[in-house]
Amino acid sequence: MRSVVEELKQEYGERLRAEPGYPDQLVVSVAIDDVPAVAATLREWHGARLVTVFAEDRVAPEGAFYNYYVFERAGDPCYLVVRGRIPAEDPRFPSLASTLPAVNWEEREIQDWFGIEAEGHPNPRRVALHDHWPDVHPLRKDFSLNTVLPPFEGERHVYRPTLGEGVFQIPVGPVHAGIIEPGHFNFAVAGEPILYLQLRMFYKHKGIEKLFEGMPAARGVYLAESVSGDSAFSHGTGFCQAVEKASGLEVPFRAQVMRTILLELERIYNHVADIGAIAMDVGFVIANAHAARVREMLLALNEELTGSRLLRGMVCIGGVRRDWAGGPGKALGQTLETVEREFRDLVQLIQSSDSTRDRLERTGILRPEKAAALGIVGVGGRASGVDRDVRRDHPYAAYGNLTWRIPVYSEGDVQRRMQVRIDEVRESFGMIRDAAANLPAGEHRTPARPMEPGRCALSAVEGWRGEILYWLRAGAAGRLERCKVKDPSLNNWPALVEAVEGNIIADFPAINKSFNLSYSGTDR
């Protein structure tokens, strides 16, 4: 990325300024109007991918908003953050969504939360704040957290009309029959086949990014853990890594390895549950019963290792909260052995069921070119040929010392999304075993120290769903000034819309489950 920055400097000269960063995170500032050209150069000439875009309110100290565009490219562990200055008196930025559909929602979030207009956005309607919200911009600094809004009276969202003979709409949600989170799915169907699906999310918007502001970093860990409950450890680790980076804290290697083990345990327990759930949604109930049993063993192991079945409260700034006296103990090795055997049986059971395979294969296909264009990450991406994995691309914790195979398929159907999970669980067994065998002695945490005020830091973690990103700016007295959270679900909802097209509506639950996206993580 360093050479890329040099080239950009030559092209833009004075207009592009390097900002303080880190060896693995370069930061440059440009005028906001230059952003589309810079982004195009980065994408077309350097094969870079726009990971995320978000904004920050710096009106009080600097008289401007900033937009941050995070880029990465294959084979390069370094991130490039392009910062675009938006003058406070003229709050608008050129939209990239028409050429980069991946940032569609994120640009609209900036519109809703900061009141900065995304100029030229193909669909500039509300997304994060629903249509009937009053005209407020909660992430601006002059919006108090204690603001009480009057009852909403605005017009509600109007869905694209469904026309044609025999074509009708099926609205599903936001409250569902099962125990799942709220989200609205509006299907246009012609008999059974789905013509298109309109999504409405953000029913669970909790203002987490606002809540982070002014919070002491140590308390922020708990908030990060509750962004998406099933990814508590990944989100917690992502947040802690960012704080550690901003405060120049070196995490002891022992803690890094322990984090790695726990991150993989989180991946395994969720993947096992998902594999069961996919089988469940095609009516192969017995596989789900077995998966639930295996998951329970893993949760019990989690509790033994961390005191929490869902791995909460374990990660902390500077390491992990609890040490394993000597090693992870017999529990890990023994449980892992049992789980591995049980998992093999579970996979065999599913694979021996022709009727299950018949339901999963060629169902909900997400084509690789679509997946690439939409910037799909994680399990959904790897099943559709997107060979991306933060653990390998931007090594963190102890992943630099481990070797494993990253499963990538190009068919992109439900079957392959399940297969990616199966393969990853198998790899994770090996990784955990490797890490546990080489668990170094030493401290399990270093005392935290306050972040340098004004310092920014980016951190990425491959959660079990995919790429989780944290970006923060340190405030005074070890508090947070701004904290951006990007859950992989935000990238991947559009993948679901693509994947269901042309499928029959009775297959939707299985397709949805094969992505299993987090509503809470999306809505924040």
Binding site: F168, Q169, I170, P171, V172, A177, G178, G191, E192, A279, D281, V282, G283, F284, V285, I286, N288, A289, R293, S353, S355, T356, D358, R359, T363, I504, I505, A506, D507, F508, P509
Partner: protein
């Protein structure tokens, strides 16, 4: 006259009380196979009791059809139940047409259920009704073909006479035509009772439902009537299968001793058939919706072959 009335009352009570138990038995057996404790075999009774005491929510858009449907379905199914031999070959009621009347009484119930689903005005009801009718269009003729196979052997479509003829030839169920007819009827049973691989009775996923989607808008006593009718229909189809193909132990008439023995045998045979249903449900995934007609086409073919082979063997 008194005897006839007694038979009607006895079979009515049997249908009403035994049907939920069969549903409960299947549910519990399934749960056990999945290593769950399950709700217990008496749960359907508790559910009915609960639903009958609850208030109802009726959609504003619903017409009289919505309210008439539960009664029509319940009564039609119950009447059909009275025409099927349960504990004795002699049935309490024998309408003109015999087994044909049974098939069409069930058809009447289904017709009203589909109307009720459409009448509520929600898109799920319509979805369920259209799916139900797609499947019924193949299940119904299959049922007819299988029944004709047996009727030809007995020389009558009167169920009492059909079963009486079966009692006379205990081992006839091993004949090719009978085996084929049994297979066809078993598939009809799976489809008509909304079981995996055709429908999933335990699902919460509205989008995959067939039977449940149709009745999604029903609540309280109406729902109780429909659920009850569904379990009676299941018992009726099972009894039909059992008594036509496995008539051993079934008395010809209603004598105290005979009926007691018949009831005992019925319980044993119901348990065996339920176990078969449970095994099918546990070892299979649900079929893709568009594959269901294929399965029903297989059932139809089996039925047609059964009918053809009665003339060959």
């Amino acid at each position: 006259m008194m005897a006839a009335l007694f038979k009607v009352m006895a079979q009515l009570v049997l249908l009403l009380l035994l049907a939920p138990l069969v549903s409960g038995f299947i549910k519990t057996a399934k749960a056990r196979l999945q290593m769950r404790r399950g709700p217990g075999v008496l749960q359907p009774y508790r559910d009915l009791h609960k639903l009958l005491r609850k208030g109802m929510v009726i959609p504003n858009t619903a017409s009289w059809l919505f309210s008439a449907t539960p009664y029509v379905v319940f009564l039609a199914t119950l009447l059909a139940g009275l025409m099927v031999p349960m504990v004795a070959a002699d049935t309490p009621v024998g309408l003109v047409g015999g087994v044909l009347a049974v098939v069409y009484l069930l058809g009447l119930g289904r017709f009203f259920l589909a109307l009720g689903g459409l009448d509520a005005g929600s898109s799920f009801g319509g979805l369920g009704s259209s799916r139900e009718m797609t499947i019924a269009a193949l299940a119904e003729p299959t049922l007819m073909l299988a029944v004709f196979t047996v009727a030809i052997g007995a020389g009558s479509t009167n169920l009492s006479q059909m079963v009486a003829a079966a009692i006379g030839e205990q081992w006839r169920f091993l004949a090719p035509s009978q085996v084929l007819a049994f297979a066809a009827l078993f598939l009809v049973l799976i489809a008509e009772t909304g079981r995996i691989p055709v429908d999933n009775p335990a699902t919460h996923l509205e989008l995959t439902m067939i039977h449940e989607a149709m009745i999604l808008e029903y609540s309280g006593p109406y729902l109780a009537l429909i659920e009850w009718a569904a379990s009676i229909k299941q018992l009726l189809l099972m009894a039909l299968l059992i008594n036509v193909f496995w008539p051993f132990g079934l008395p010809a008439g209603w004598s105290a001793g005979g009926v007691a023995a018949g009831a005992g045998w019925l319980a044993v045979k119901l348990a065996v058939l339920s176990a078969g249903v449970v095994l099918v449900e546990t070892t299979n995934a649900k079929l893709r919706l568009f594959r269901v007609p294929e399965l029903m086409a297989v059932a139809f073919t089996l039925g047609a072959l059964a009918l053809a082979s009665t003339f060959l063997f």
